[in-house]
Symmetry: C2
Subunit: 488 residues, 2 copies
């Protein structure tokens, strides 16, 4: 779409805008809000700043966290319940996850699966059964740590990562389906158009001001506005103020997650919540890590290497001194499927652990003590420290290799010019909303006419994060927001 | 002061209020703002919610972080510079400390020492030369980690914890002096009076609304208002929204740190910053820890045990799985001065490490490996992992003892009815202010007539905290706010 064409479209759109609902942002939250509002009878206009729909969602892995007994789970031989799903997420997204949001999300999850399928999203009934960021296959189901310690002690394990059929990044397929579904229900869209502020009359949000090629226009919405503008990882000033842990790292975004929706809502009195919360990702190389050990700069293990790499990344980046190394032996390295290595080769190799720890700058005896304790227990099929599953336990034998898991590929890291910290992330904090997406003010009362969903809001997350829960809460609470606004 | 008497005083005060500046809160930030405003020629009224001045400051240890060559430092034989002080604080309060505030704070620190002394605060010229939370002596100077790794590698070590002459808690002496100084310069005070909101006219803060025994009155301030209302550790809803890590723990406060100033400023458009940041304290028993080793639930060391206990607490509570244990031997335990033990006795004792680790619920061999590596290096006067100073390095010999450092005394923990997590803390995030205490709005421009200081603001702190920097930034930026408002 050329700028001129989109400019004309905006002019056309601006001339005859007459809608119930304006949705700002056409990622997954905006798409689902728009579809639901339209299906509830509202006329809907979606305003997207980029040249095409999709947002950061389209660049993602495309996993959606779904459970409670979906047809895909059943086809793969797993029983699941909303209660097990809740128990797992409350642990994995916690401590301090939002239990109210989590409860409705889990209770409605099987229904949400059907809704997504009904709107064109495909999930194939096969499981990718090994630790990974994103399967190199078209399998529709994956584990996100449910079968690993300590999560296997708080809920009956069932895989709940549902994904469209694409190797690695499946977000494009997901968004193609939802954008097509939105078009099918008659939603109007204007692109290349930036919303600069909210229109407020007598304390009620009644539309938005847009800027396009320097021209400012007002778009009125009879019922109100849904902000689905994304997070703020692309706004350095907001990061410094609220989520400094992400400063200097790579950004998992489409480059437009600048917090604009959060800021324009704050100006009209909206409250925020958990603005420090964030996802972080390291390469980790999960298939390799599971076959070896992961250690911090002191040569200490700190987590079971077979859990979800997002959980490993958070444990490493937030809590452990780096660099972080996977130490493996030859047999372990050779056992990794090529597609799961992302072309990474060991950066260090040595015949003895004394040599390797010296090469890695660790104190004498540190890595040796760790491997010796690991091997002693692995021989008996045990990992008393971190409970890695027996499937992945095997004593490490010389020669040894080490891989810097902050080097190489980063899931979703868009910005190759970013400082080479080996870490990339996005923000999880944002506007304070009710379970129906009402934006709440500093006093706790809804801001009339204003709804929000997705990463512009503080979602279900506490201190933890699991892939699929951002697309998950964006889509599910986007639907709730769209419907609630249409019904208002 | 009886309620009736203070009620009458409020009535009297309300009848004839005619001031330039209203300061809300009479902790250290409010005291210093009031004094400075008065000394710059303004008439000042301080409104305090409690029955007497002092706030949380009066319940604290009373350390103020000062350096750059104070007379007390010089008398104790230490040269110091503002640059070394800056380098240390930037590391200890970081990452992501506020370098602009830190720079003026360090540059003016020797002058700030003189100002405090000129206003009646006494600091005796002697050093308490061992790791401690609060010296059991009247020494005026203490270390806050400056001489421990890694801080000794980023700045020339000099002790900078300055404290009034009281064993342990010296905050009362500190506040007695500053309250007296405030009275000396003619500041009026009303107590038992809650400020409910800010008075705004034409976008400018022109006073406050107060509530006293159900009656609401307006107090006008010709120049403006300084909010020195403290943090929000006593507000569970704000903790859940912004600093959930403190939920369920003890509170270091006077019970009135409910974020009222932050909230009333937000309502008139103020921005906040770093609302998640917080201090946390564990018992630690620093004198004991320095003589032994500190390990996490896996029996792993994670920090040099001779650094400041606040730094140890943060490392443990935020980053390491608990419980956290100090493991010592008999010689180490017997070497601790009784006054530094706070009556704590070992909870576990054993002849062998195998026995002890079993008693502590650690996997076989875990603690043994840690102690073996520690002893091997300690024999050579080295700690290659965490660089504990040679002074405290000595191999541990049977019999061994372990102390749960989350049990027992907690510095400043007011609330003995709190859940027995063994952790207590307070909040460090708050209003976004300029170096002169102007409260900044969501757009970054000052809110006319509104200033703030102390824990109602986001101070100099990044992710770290060192004792003395809260009283330090409260007093220093309180002064700047009072002067800037008086001069406005």
């Amino acid at each position: 779409m050329s700028p001129a064409a989109s400019g004309d479209q905006v002019q056309d759109a601006l001339v005859d805008v007459d809608v119930d609902v304006v949705v700002v942002g056409f990622g997954i939250a905006g798409a689902c809000a728009a579809i639901s509002a339209a299906e509830a009878g509202a006329s809907v206009l979606v305003v997207e700043r980029a040249g095409a729909p999709g947002g950061s969602s389209a660049l993602s892995g495309g996993e959606i966290y779904l459970g409670g007994g979906t047809p895909v789970q059943q086809a793969c031989g797993f029983d699941d319940t909303a209660d097990d799903m809740f128990a797992f997420l409350n642990a994995a997204l916690g401590p301090h996850a939002d239990e109210e949001k989590l409860r409705v999300y889990c209770n409605d999850s099987a229904e949400h699966f059907r809704w997504l399928v009904d709107h064109g999203v495909e999930f194939r009934p096969s499981l990718y059964d090994a630790p990974t960021w994103m399967p190199p296959t078209t399998d529709g189901l994956m584990w996100l740590g449910e079968n690993s310690w300590p999560f296997d002690t708080v809920a009956r394990p069932a895989p709940r990562g549902h994904r469209p059929p694409a190797p690695h990044f499946a977000g494009k397929l997901l968004m193609d389906a939802l954008v097509a579904a939105a078009e099918d229900v008659g939603i109007r869209t204007i692109v290349d158009t930036r919303v600069s502020s909210l229109l407020v009359e007598s304390g009620r949000v009644v539309g938005v001001r847009v800027r396009h090629y320097g021209e400012e226009r007002e778009l009125r919405a009879r019922k109100g506005v849904v902000l689905a503008t994304g997070g703020f990882v692309d706004n350095e000033e907001m990061l410094a103020a609220h989520a400094p842990a992400l400063l200097g790292h790579g950004k998992v975004s489409d480059g437009l997650d600048d917090g604009s929706g959060i800021r324009m809502a704050q100006v009209v009195g909206a409250a925020t919540r958990r603005m420090h919360a964030h996802e972080v990702a390291l390469t980790v190389l999960p298939a390799l890590a599971a076959r070896g050990i992961l250690v911090n700069a002191h040569g200490q293990r700190f987590i079971n290497e077979d859990t979800y790499p997002g959980t490993i990344s958070h444990a490493a980046v937030v809590h452990q001194p780096g660099p972080w190394w996977v130490v493996v032996d030859e047999a372990g390295f050779d056992d990794v499927p090529a597609a799961d290595l992302w072309g990474v080769r060991p950066t260090h190799a040595a015949e003895t652990l004394a040599e390797l720890e010296a090469d890695l700058g660790m104190p004498p005896g540190s890595l040796e003590a760790t491997v010796s304790a690991y091997n002693r227990c692995a021989e008996q099929g045990e990992d008393p420290l971190f409970h890695k599953a027996a499937r992945w336990l095997r004593p490490l034998r010389p020669p040894y290799a080490a891989v810097d898991v902050a080097a190489g590929f980063h899931p979703g890291d868009r910005d190759s010019a970013a400082p080479a910290t080996g870490v990339a992330g996005f923000t999880l904090g944002g506007l304070h909303t009710s379970v129906d997406g009402e934006v709440l003010s500093l006093t706790g009362a809804p801001v009339p006419g204003l709804f929000a969903a997705g990463r512009a809001t503080a979602g279900m997350h506490g201190d933890g994060y699991i892939s699929g829960t951002s697309l998950g809460d964006g889509s599910y609470f986007g639907r709730r927001a769209g419907r609630a606004l249409a019904d208002s």
